[in-house]
């Protein structure tokens, strides 16, 4: 056993359950499904192939037997991880890659390093653990403070301001002798709430209390604003929380639904890392600290830090050749768009697209040099051709999520609305490598989709014409001081950085990230859209919740 990986904890002698239970336990250990935290895209960014390790990612914890944690859990996701673990059926295991999960509930059962070999070792330990696990004892109950709110009966009723149920308790008391009234007094015990039963009985009570006043939909929705289609529906606020399949992990969206159309939405980053306050510090390690701002675009942020430092008082720290930056930046752009396509396909329900995009994303992330990128190019081209010709996607995505042409945006979001703005327009080496801005005019989801497809192809062309993928090293003078500014076109849009350097230390650093700007467009994108269209619109903005930290 190598150091750094912990074996299954042995508290007392575990005897493998024999007979019937052993058979079932061994069968359950054979096919492992996993719920990935933060999400499967982060696993691919770390170069990890889940299918090759024998894990099948699923969309909800209810189907999962392994909770796979990739890297340190940001503080804002701690509660979400607890809730997700509580919703997993037994047997369940927490497999942590590259993190100790200190101070978190649940604690990691198995910890391995963050790479493919570590994952495979961890999976073997998970299988051993599940097939040897005796029946959990009666005192093995998982509780946490955040879960206690689930049992709060009054909380449920108080939330009903939108539901207009408060005036009805008295009437329910009178209806106790009604044969079809099983939930007298809204008595919620710990048994599962069957949503279908609830709404059906609700309908029955409607019939029984036709003249009863409070329960009729007309009086309940009397004071609510009417949507343009004129249907008086019930309003509710639904959380499409931090770990929703298809949306980026860490994006906490709250949608206000009028029946099934979305009236408003608010998306915020749930990571809560306060990363921007950790940026000041020594200059030599500043690029590493800036990279931590967005793990989904590390190369772009590293280049941003280096460019800003290079612009401080015109001091030239780096070798003059600019072209190596272009190849690394464009490779990351292509990989980011492919990763976005995988999540987008999952949200659309188009499994083939999601699987293909995920495989290509992983291959591109893992490619060690330019010749291997050229080797996967035919597959990428075939995939892009299929995507752009697909009539079903055209029908599905056209005309939804349309943005106002005057909205403040950058990156593919702006270029999908007809704006030619791109930070690479002014970058001589990008233009030399073959860059030109790809623009679509419609401003809807299909336009942004097409822009990203075309950008994948263009970026890979630019990479093919380069010599190397590596970035230059940073060497700093001791009496380095001044202010610097730089802008870089990240895969999501333009990011700007303003720094103030004194005595070899970065005193202040101000980052303007594209996702923070695009988060304000969410309410435009979902306005009066059907729920599915609204979610697709939010996904089409390609928000990175890591950048949306305060």
């Amino acid at each position: 056993m190598e150091p750094g990986c912990s074996a299954t904890t042995v508290r007392e002698v575990r005897e493998a359950p024999g007979g019937w239970r052993g058979l079932v336990a061994r069968a359950m250990a054979r096919s492992l499904t996993t719920f990935v935290v933060p999400d499967a895209r982060m696993a691919r960014e770390a170069g990890i192939d889940l299918a090759a390790a024998g894990l099948q990612p699923v969309a909800t914890p209810r189907h999962a037997s392994v909770l796979l944690v990739i890297g340190d859990v940001p503080p804002g996701l701690a509660d979400a991880v607890t809730v997700v673990y509580a919703q997993m059926p037994r047997p369940r295991t927490v497999l942590a890659l590259g993190t100790q999960m200190t101070g978190l509930l649940p604690a990691a059962n198995i910890t391995v390093p963050l790479n493919q070999k570590g994952l495979e070792r961890g999976v073997a330990q998970v299988r051993a653990r599940i097939s040897s696990q005796p029946e959990a004892s009666a005192d093995d109950v998982f509780t946490a403070q955040v879960l206690d709110a689930a049992d709060d009966d009054d909380g449920g009723m108080d939330k009903g301001e939108m539901h207009h149920h408060e005036g009805n308790d008295g009437e329910h008391g009178d209806e106790d002798d009604d044969a079809t009234n099983p939930h007298a007094g809204h008595d919620m015990d710990d048994s599962a709430i069957d949503d279908g039963d609830g709404s059906m009985d609700h309908g029955d009570m409607d019939h029984d209390m036709m003249g009863g006043g409070g329960m009729s939909m007309v009086s309940m929705t009397q004071d609510l604003p009417r949507s343009p289609d004129g249907l008086p529906m019930e309003w509710s606020e639904v959380a499409f929380g931090p770990l929703f399949p298809g949306l980026p992990a860490g994006l906490a969206s709250t949608l206000t639904l009028d029946g099934d159309t979305v009236v408003d939405a608010l998306s915020s980053g749930a990571m809560d890392r306060a990363i921007l306050s950790s940026l000041p510090g020594p200059v030599a390690s500043f690029p590493d600290r800036l990279v931590a701002v967005d793990p989904l675009a590390p190369v772009a942020y590293r280049i941003l830090a280096m460019k800003a430092l290079a612009n401080v008082n015109g001091a030239s720290i780096f070798p003059p050749a600019n072209v190596p930056w272009v190849a690394a930046c464009e490779r990351e752009r292509a990989a980011s768009h492919l990763g976005w396509l995988a999540g987008f396909g999952e949200l659309l329900g188009y499994d083939w697209m999601a699987a293909q995009a995920a495989a290509l994303h992983l291959a591109l992330v893992r490619a060690p040099d330019i010749s291997s990128i050229k080797a996967i190019r035919p597959d990428v081209d075939r995939f892009l051709r299929d995507m752009s010709r697909n009539p079903m996607l055209r029908l599905r995505l056209a005309g939804i999520g349309t943005l106002d042409p005057g909205s403040e945006a950058s990156g593919p979001v702006a270029r999908g609305s007809g704006k030619r703005g791109d930070a690479r327009n002014d970058d001589h080496s990008s233009v030399e490598a073959g860059f030109y801005p790809i623009v679509q005019d419609a401003g809807d989801v299909l336009a942004r989709f097409r822009v990203r497809l075309a950008e994948i192809s263009l970026s890979l062309d630019m990479v093919a014409g380069a010599e190397t993928l590596s970035l230059p090293d940073l060497s700093v003078q001791a009496d380095f001081r001044g202010t610097g500014w730089a802008v870089v076109e990240t895969p999501r849009g333009s990011a700007t950085l303003q720094i103030d350097v004194q005595d070899g230390h970065v005193r202040t650093a101000h980052v303007d990230a594209p996702s923070a700007v695009h988060a304000k467009l969410v309410s435009q994108v979902v306005d009066q859209a059907e729920l599915a269209d609204a979610l697709i619109g939010i996904a089409s903005l390609d928000l990175s919740p890591w950048e949306m930290d305060g």
Binding site: S199, P245, L247
Partner: protein, 120 residues
């Protein structure tokens, strides 16, 4: 078959059904009892706890499908016996079925105007 045999068959069915249900119940129980934990039964909403109860009225959007089902499936059900005798009844049968189809076709036209044929 004597009456006794018939009742015997019925009793055998009853016992087998009860036995099957009991066997399934015992198999499930042998794999471990349910344990009640907080937050376990709350529907999964991406990591946040859904408010309880979740009572929202939904628009009966699928009435379009119900309409199309009636129009095609019910008409098909009536056309099967009609098809058997249609040739010997001649033109009168054709016109009668035509009236029936025309009425149902109005339903399809209404569904079309309300977007029931749109790909969602």
């Amino acid at each position: 078959m004597t009456v006794f045999q018939q009742y015997g068959l019925l009793v055998a069915f009853f016992i087998s059904t009860v036995g099957l249900v009991a066997t399934l119940h015992l198999i499930a129980r042998s794999l471990g009892r349910n344990r009640h934990e907080p937050g376990k039964d709350v529907p999964y909403t991406g990591g946040t706890l859904a408010p309880k109860p979740v009572w929202v009225r939904y628009h009966f959007h699928y009435y379009g499908f119900a309409l199309l089902f009636l129009a095609f499936d019910m008409e098909m059900a009536f056309m099967y016996p009609w098809a058997v005798v249609y040739r010997e009844l001649g033109i009168a049968a054709l016109l009668d079925m035509g009236v029936f189809l025309a009425i149902l076709f109005l339903g399809i036209l209404y569904g079309w105007s309300q977007g029931a044929l749109r790909r969602q």
